[in-house]
């Protein structure tokens, strides 16, 4: 159970990245499946080489972790460039990068000092020689899955939650939110939407890479298949967290994402305790959980219930939940509008009719709208 919380905290970093692209930038970025593994493989191979081939200095695991962030960010940058400069659809651009990363990850995992080709790597020891990762001391004291490990990992997550909230409250952060929400307006306000998109994708995938790097060092292994389905895990966390904590404030949403990630892992943990299910069924359980979360968040009753049992009541100047604003761009458009009537001024129709009437004498049947 505490181990599940550990895992949830580690994937919370990835979920925060997914929150940034899917929720804030409205960019369906599937790169994370690849960049998570890239971060994991890079970190694994650096601690492997550092402990066995290098002198085993203390900074190797730290270097590995930072490298995980950097390679993740590079992957995100690539997706961003494909989308903004080559004008490839976000979904397609990110799938292309994800696919390409599979080969690159294989190369990275085969970059051990001994030249052996690998599709997975163990990080406990190699040929009797111990390997040092960030969590070796925790493993030695059997502290993984204890309050200590939760405190350490929780500390890391808090740092990044604070970072993300600060980032989004800056002028640049507001420009990013505007880009995701209304690119036309952002561009007309002098925001380079290409630049904001690329940077956001870099931050998001950097977080995915970090999550991968920490996972590899925490479980003392890395494999090419690590990232498969991570996008779903992250999305489930975002949907679950936002449904429970609401979308009134960015900080509340980020906290919700972390909580969602932990809850998700706990749910999987309990599901797997059921003897009928094997650990190979985990992907199936993940998919079912995501479906349940998606369906539940569309159900008005669930929202009413959350509002009712929530101890906190909105005040006069509390912003409305983001989810209550209809938005055609959002990948969650269905979810967003499900519990709120679409707000369109009712008078718009007869008003248009009237406008047409005034100009009827100079009418031609063409439309003035530029394509």
């Amino acid at each position: 159970m505490l181990g599940a919380i550990d895992q949830g905290l580690i994937t919370a970093l990835l979920a925060l990245g997914i929150f940034l692209t899917f929720r804030i930038l409205n960019f369906a970025d599937l790169t994370v499946d690849g960049s998570f593994t890239t971060g994991s493989a890079t970190a694994a191979i650096i601690v492997f080489n550092g402990s066995l081939n290098g002198q085993g200095e203390w900074w190797w695991p730290w270097l590995a972790t930072v490298a995980g962030i950097i390679v993740g960010a590079l992957a995100g940058c690539l997706t961003g460039l494909l989308h903004t400069k080559a004008h490839i659809d976000p979904l397609l651009a990110s799938i292309l990068v994800m696919l390409a990363l599979y080969s690159i990850n294989s190369r990275i995992l085969s970059a051990g000092y001994d030249g052996v080709e690998r599709s997975n790597i163990g990080l406990v020891s190699h040929k009797g020689q111990p390997i040092e990762t960030l969590f070796t001391w925790m493993r030695a004291l059997s502290l993984r899955g204890s309050l200590t490990s939760i405190a350490v990992l929780g500390g890391i997550v808090v740092v990044f939650v604070l970072f993300l909230n600060w980032f989004l409250s800056t002028k640049f952060g507001l420009a990013i939110m505007a880009t995701g929400d209304n690119p036309t307006m952002a561009s007309a306000m002098g925001v380079s939407t290409d630049f904001t998109k690329i940077i956001t994708l870099m931050v998001s995938n950097g977080l995915a890479g970090l999550s991968g790097a920490i996972t590899a060092q925490y479980v003392f292994a890395s494999s090419l298949e690590d990232g498969r389905g991570m996008i779903l895990v992250g999305l489930a966390s975002v949907i679950l967290g936002n449904a429970i904590f609401g979308t009134r404030y960015v900080w509340l949403m980020t906290i919700g994402v972390v909580a969602g990630s932990v809850l998700y892992r706990i749910a999987i943990f309990w599901a797997l305790r059921w003897d009928f299910l094997k650990s190979a069924d985990m992907k199936l359980i993940s998919a079912v959980l995501v479906i349940i979360a998606l369906v539940l968040s569309q159900w008005q009753g669930a929202h009413a219930l959350v509002t009712k049992i929530s101890p906190w009541k909105p005040k006069e100047d509390t912003p409305e939940p983001m989810a209550s604003v209809p938005n055609q761009f959002s990948p969650f458009a269905e979810v967003d509008t499900a519990h709120q009537p679409v707000l369109r001024p009712a008078h718009i129709h007869h008003d248009v009719a009237e406008t047409v009437e005034t100009v009827e004498t100079v009418e031609t049947n063409e439309t003035d709208k530029a394509p």
Partner: protein
């Protein structure tokens, strides 16, 4: 000369069955402080003209010069430093999921580098509160509310404020009252006139409403099928009536269609 448009042409879908000449050799000069209204039928190229000035469309030939600087090849977000726009669709000019104050913060940074300084400070909030009060919509008490839940008229009023309060060199209004009911349209129009007058802005306003076109501004341009048919200066405009405009349009249209038939 504030704005010079020299012999701009634009054709959509060239070489296809849908080919449409949107602008045909259009030239236009605006002095500082000019407020010109543009009227014309659908397909006259009014919006295309504004989009070309704003930079969301590129020209086929010709050039756009603002304050002596050729901006023809400059991207939209780079031009935004000097050009502010209000769109026809109330949803286009504001960011629905952001709050009123966040929208204003983005607008305040128009054309400035987006740094990692705080977007919303106490001083900025105070300024926004004062500015919002001038709209007389009570929005100054709803600064944290999301713009997506405001009415169309309120959103257009906010768009107008966001476009004007940074003193842009040029303000482009693209049928910004067309999607509002007559009462709201009147209000937004009144705000437009007062904002432009207060700050001495140079502005171009496209409208379908001839009455509005005559009431506001110190010049009027009539467009038809991608050409400027006629421009009225302040003096002519003061004398003109809606009926004069209509008459002129129908006469020109007759001449034009005759020409088309004969050619």
């Amino acid at each position: 000369m504030m704005l010079r448009i020299e012999q701009v042409s634009k054709t959509f879908y060239p070489g296809t069955a849908n080919e449409r000449v949107a602008l045909n050799d259009v030239s236009l000069h605006l002095d500082e402080g000019d407020f010109i209204t543009i009227i014309g039928s659908n397909g006259a190229g009014k919006s295309t003209l504004l989009n070309i000035i704003g930079g969301s469309l590129s020209v086929d030939t010709g050039s756009v010069i603002i304050n002596g600087r050729d901006v023809t090849r400059l991207k939209e977000y780079r031009r935004a430093q000097g050009i502010a726009r209000v769109f026809q669709d109330p949803a286009a000019g504001t960011s629905p999921h952001l709050s009123i104050e966040e929208n204003l913060a983005v607008a305040l940074d128009r054309g400035k580098p987006h740094t990692l300084a705080r977007g919303l400070t106490k001083a900025r909030r105070e300024e926004f509160r004062e500015q919002l009060a001038t709209l007389e919509q009570g929005l100054e008490n709803r600064m944290r509310h999301r713009v997506g839940l405001l009415s169309g008229g309120q959103r257009q009023a906010l768009s107008l404020l966001m476009a004007s309060f940074t003193h842009p060199q040029l303000l482009l209004l693209d049928e910004h009252t067309a999607a509002l009911d007559p009462e709201r349209a009147e209000l937004v129009l009144r705000l437009t006139a007062s904002k432009i007058a207060e700050q001495g802005l140079t502005a171009l306003m496209v409208t379908h409403n001839m009455d509005h076109a005559l009431r506001l501004g110190n010049g009027l341009i009539m467009m038809h099928e991608g050409r400027i048919l006629r421009s009225l200066d302040a003096e002519e405009k003061a004398k003109a009536q809606v009926s004069d405009l209509l008459e002129f349009f129908s006469r020109e249209k007759g001449v034009l269609s005759d020409r088309t038939l004969l050619s």
